[in-house]
């Protein structure tokens, strides 16, 4: 019997010849990540473990992204603790403003295809965009990895998603995931891995593939895996990653479910207030008045997201009464956006561009405070009631293009109906 990508990666990392869904393995991890949101618990657990040496520290990144910048002394003190620990044990360190964990790990070339990566964050599924098994863990897990380089895993069942055709201009991986959420429901892939395949993946640039793998966390996925192609390998090589060991699924691999999605026929999607799986085509939400627009977070704060927004907003002005925040996913994204004139275009259009980080997603930084009755259109990944701190406001989710088009008109708007809304990147590799 053949194996899925998840089964192959967990087999090769545990010295088990043929680990299959349901098995528990103790596997060697290639890289680990701890962010500031979970650092207090994790560092406490490391202390409890009482290990003199942490051999895996050199392959662990500490990332200060949730409190970037820190909104209170407590968070600033967590950062002090992280810096001191990182220096003492020689971990990799990304400080305030460097970027979101899921962006700086691949940008830093810390892992490659076929690797096993753990991070203290549910969106660690992002690494699957590069054909690595990335999954979220907690502090105890992280302490165990830092001491031993290994961790126990239950090998997940896999859902295979075949995407027919390619996404049309103005439609993005965000829309694809929202459509999946509408179909499977939040947590519809709980415990499971998802393999995405088909022409739509080949046509997607890396930024959009990262969105696809990242956003699988809302489906409850333990991992989301894409096969590697020339684009993946070229991207990783340009960031100095180790030689790739691409892993493919066997044709006779066993899946818990096979799903087909008509990528070519998919219109932009919107998740309506409070529920990530209350998803409709943008037409059904169009006209809804909005007061706040956010482009950013680990899901959609990458260069292609900023390019989408700038393509729509360049030389224009967001609607009166609308406030817009843009948070680039990393310092590198910020710099490149500045070089391309995107920061200027967005700022002139009325947006405020903030330091790279992910705090705006849950308003940890205190910069995105909504008033009673305010409606937010956001490229983030979750829209639970009260997520931005005010239960009397509402959050809708859409692609960066949908967010920008909506900021422009003041109402939820199909990006394909505004100039620049059909922008799409031109592939360099393929």
């Amino acid at each position: 019997m053949g194996a899925t990508i998840a089964e192959k990666i967990l087999s090769s990392h545990s010295g088990t010849r043929s680990a299959r869904a349901g098995d528990v393995v103790v596997a060697s991890v290639d890289f680990a990540m701890l962010h500031d949101g979970r650092a207090p618990n994790a560092l406490k657990r490391v202390a409890e473990l009482g290990a003199g040496k942490l051999p895996f520290a050199a392959r662990t990144a500490f990332v200060m992204d949730h409190y970037s910048p820190p909104p209170h002394a407590e968070a600033a003190n967590v950062h002090r603790e992280m810096r001191a620990f990182a220096e003492a044990h020689r971990t990799v360190l990304y400080d305030v403003g460097d970027g979101i964990c899921h962006q700086v790990l691949p940008e830093g070339g810390h892992f490659t295809c076929g690797d096993l990566v753990v991070g203290t964050d549910t969106h660690s599924t992002t690494y699957g965009a590069f054909n690595a098994f990335g999954t979220g863990v907690e502090g105890t897990d992280l302490a165990a990895v830092m001491m031993t380089g290994r961790l126990w895993f239950r090998v997940p069942e896999t859902i295979r998603v075949e995407l027919r055709g390619r996404l049309q201009p103005g439609v993005w991986a965000k829309d694809l995931t929202l459509a999946m959420l509408g179909r499977l429901g939040a947590e519809g892939a709980n415990y499971k891995a998802i393999e995405y395949a088909g022409p739509a993946i080949a046509a997607m640039e890396i930024d959009d593939r990262m969105t696809l793998a990242n956003h699988a966390a809302e489906l409850g996925a333990k991992a989301a895996l894409l096969e590697a192609d020339e684009k993946t390998i070229a991207w990783l090589q340009s960031r100095g990653a180790r030689g790739p060991r691409p892993v493919t699924a066997d044709p006779d691999a066993r899946y818990s479910e096979r799903i087909e999605v008509d990528a070519a026929g998919l219109p932009p999607q919107v998740a309506r207030r409070h529920k990530v799986d209350d998803v409709v085509g943008v037409d059904e939400a169009a006209g809804q008045r909005i007061h706040y627009a956010l482009v950013g977070t680990c899901t959609n704060g990458r260069l292609d997201d900023l390019r989408q927004a700038a393509a729509i907003l360049k030389g224009r002005r967001i609607a009166q009464g609308v406030r817009m925040i843009v948070t680039p996913a990393s310092r590198n994204v910020y710099l490149q956006a500045a070089r391309e004139g995107l920061i200027e275009a967005l700022t002139q259009a009325g947006a405020s561009v903030e330091a790279a980080g992910c705090g705006t997603c849950v308003n940890i930084t205190g910069h995105l405070i909504t008033g009673d009755g305010d409606v937010v259109i956001s490229s983030a990944n979750r829209n639970f009631k009260g997520r931005l701190g005010n239960a009397n406001s509402e959050i809708f989710l859409g692609s960066a293009a949908t967010v920008a088009a909506s900021a422009l008109t003041g109402r939820i708007t199909d990006p394909r109906t505004v100039d620049g809304g059909d922008w799409r990147p031109v592939s360099k590799a393929a």
């Binding site: 528990v24 979220g136 105890t140 897990d141 709980n190 409850g220």
Partner: protein
Amino acid sequence: MGALIRGKAHLLGDDINTDIHCSSKYHPGRDNAYVAQHVFEQLVPGFAARLAKGDVIVAGRNFGNNSSREQAVHILRLLEVGAIVAASFGRQFFRNCINNGLPVVECDVTGISGNDEVEIDLALGRVAVPARGIVREVPPLPGEVQAVLGAGGLIPFLKAHPDWRIPSPLTGEG
């Protein structure tokens, strides 16, 4: 291993998000001891007060959903919950329970009522309510997971077995 877990059932429903009901997110600035006393009280007033050492939480689908905060499990350990039986669990919550030595069993819970005496055999993979004639077979937890649970969690396990060698369930030897 193989010891039987026996405790009184306390029922909770579907989609209990521990993030809201048993973490400090719900009680900002409060310590675990305080949060523990108010656990699930929004849903079941006086829940903590009725919980005795070794009692079993019996819940529906997606228990611990959306929460990866390990603290939610620390609270339940502090209350000396004996085990949790639920129709399904949030992924990270399930992991956190095992890592903190709190037995978890995924099992059909229909027919189990509050205050029922529940018996759980982790090694055999069985959940029973003798008084109601309920006996349900579940896939036994893998040996590795049982070993971590038996040690009281991942940290005590690694202190005893820093090389991850899993003791054989038959001999107890590494």
